[in-house]
Symmetry: D3
Subunit: 137 residues, 6 copies
């Protein structure tokens, strides 16, 4: 069977602050500038989940997109939506919430749970002008 | 001279919490749901500034868009960008930061300052699926 | 209180065929071209609902957008989503499903039901390059 | 019959230079900055044509969008596409090609030619962050 | 010569129904839910064609994009546009029209026909929130 | 450390003409059609810069996006913005400004300058319907 990648976009809104508590306030301000604002700021994030695998000859699907959406909402989107990445989100506990660190943490939650097919890429937009990609390596 | 409307979009990222301090926590939770999360959430806001007036026969402009952008950045965008609408933004002091209240507050700051032409509409997107419009009435 | 317009976008996917049963097949083909294909075609429609009214001083809202979304989904979006405008949608019974006719029919369903605020405009995209607007007149 | 507005977007790519030949080079540079670059620059323009009128009870259309597109392409889009607004476009002869002046010139060409319905608004995007609107007044 | 990938997007509107005729109506309804609606639904599809190859030193092109567009329109887009994937489209005869199956079928038509360069990826959007990718493996 | 790709989009507006001076005017017209218009045309270009590398454990960044943006603006965007690719842009001197040739020339300027991380892909949109990708091979 041919290997196809199916992609589902999900959206959520969250607050965060780029901050490394192991550094001084001055060093945080120097490294992270306005992204370190102590009263937070926030984004409309878009998460793109890529799942690759053979097309099932009975359904014509790699994976049922409705079931994939429900799984991703339950495991990562609902945990972060209308919350604060530094304070409210268990899978980010103790992690500086840069886009790079968020996408790796989401991978670790999602990769073992997704099937059929395998998680092949996560893409996370922080704004319409910057995003990150992770392929699990 | 014909009356033309020129429009400039600007973007900023901010945290907020929909919250009326005159109400009890229970009433806030009932009215505002997840938008009332005590640790905030946030958005990539887009502000659209509409200025209407006659076309200047020397420049062919209603208003110089570079000067308009600088003015709007100075008066409202830089005040809110990478900040918290409930805590950090002087023109929102004491105001519940719904999109409706933000757009009216921005109008009050911008309308007296914009010229040539007159501010004819502000449009503020909170997400790609909801926005507000205000025409000063 | 200032009068603000709040806008909510909703999406649905439907099949249709532009066809006037009072005309001959030849006349339908001549007037509507490929949009008259007897086996249907379809679109990802986007509906934009504009509600105008005073800002409530307690909530800071013109209307609760979550309640507005639920109402519009129940009255028009769920009736049309993943269905056929010519065959499956009660509020379009006997009406040629051009975008013009769809937007007027949706207005007649929604206008009496929306409050607080008043329905001030419906905008319906059929493709990213064409849409219609109706203001109830 | 209800009055509906139908809208068609068309796209074209053109070079231009904001320049008033009645002014000195220094004055042009001061007023128009990098938009006055003598070797031109260019844009992917999007033109949005709004036509308002009663819905025809036979067709369900205000105006046939295919015929509207052909008319607008013939009268203004094909005149400007892959051309230079300062040099190549007859309806802009002698006019400084700011967006304001372009949209007024296009109105004067299109308004007498469009029917059924009447041209009610032209919207012209120069970039995704700035556009102009003209309603013929 | 460097190997560059050039990409062209094309759009079409089609009706379909996710349905496997080898299964019972109940099994189809269980597997495919509202996508199995017997009266069809539809989408604005976007197809993205990726062609990879060396840059021709005379033209500076991998492939002439105008010729590529004409070829893709003739072979797949015009076959599907304003039609029904289950009933009207020869290259989908007997195939359940999921996005996965459509993109593989389009690859089989396009890959042998595209040159210079080689078809390296097809991307097909069914809605703005879900799409599939196929690279011919 | 995991390897993540971070992506930054930048925009600029430029004029160009697809033209090979080694060929006759007739041959240029035949090969390049309206893209060969002697008085130029232009585009709103979008450049997407992909940088891949390990996530720094102190900052949580692959590369500081603000520093990346400043570097790309200085080296390529400001050289091309509001200019003419055939006449004004040093890194394109003597090169036919097709998208393929522009993206390769930008790679040669940017790849040696970007660090930490390595330039892994450049994507350049000429219009919303066509773009090119280059990965340095």
């Amino acid at each position: 069977m041919p290997d196809v990648t199916v992609v589902r976009r999900l959206r959520f809104n969250a607050a965060h602050r780029v901050h490394n508590p192991a550094l001084s306030p001055e060093e945080n301000a120097r490294l992270f500038g306005k992204c370190n604002n102590p009263n937070w700021h926030g984004h409309n994030y878009t998460l793109e989940v890529h799942v690759t695998g053979p097309v099932d000859p009975v359904t014509g699907y790699v994976v049922d997109l409705g079931q994939l959406r429900d799984l991703v909402e339950r495991l990562v989107v609902n945990e972060a939506d209308h919350r604060n990445f530094n304070v409210d989100v268990p899978f980010m506990a103790g992690i500086n919430p840069t886009s790079e660190n968020i996408v790796v943490a989401m991978w670790r939650v999602l990769a073992p749970a997704i099937q059929p097919g395998r998680l092949s890429r996560l893409r996370l937009w922080e704004t319409e002008n910057n995003y990150v990609e992770y392929e699990g390596r």
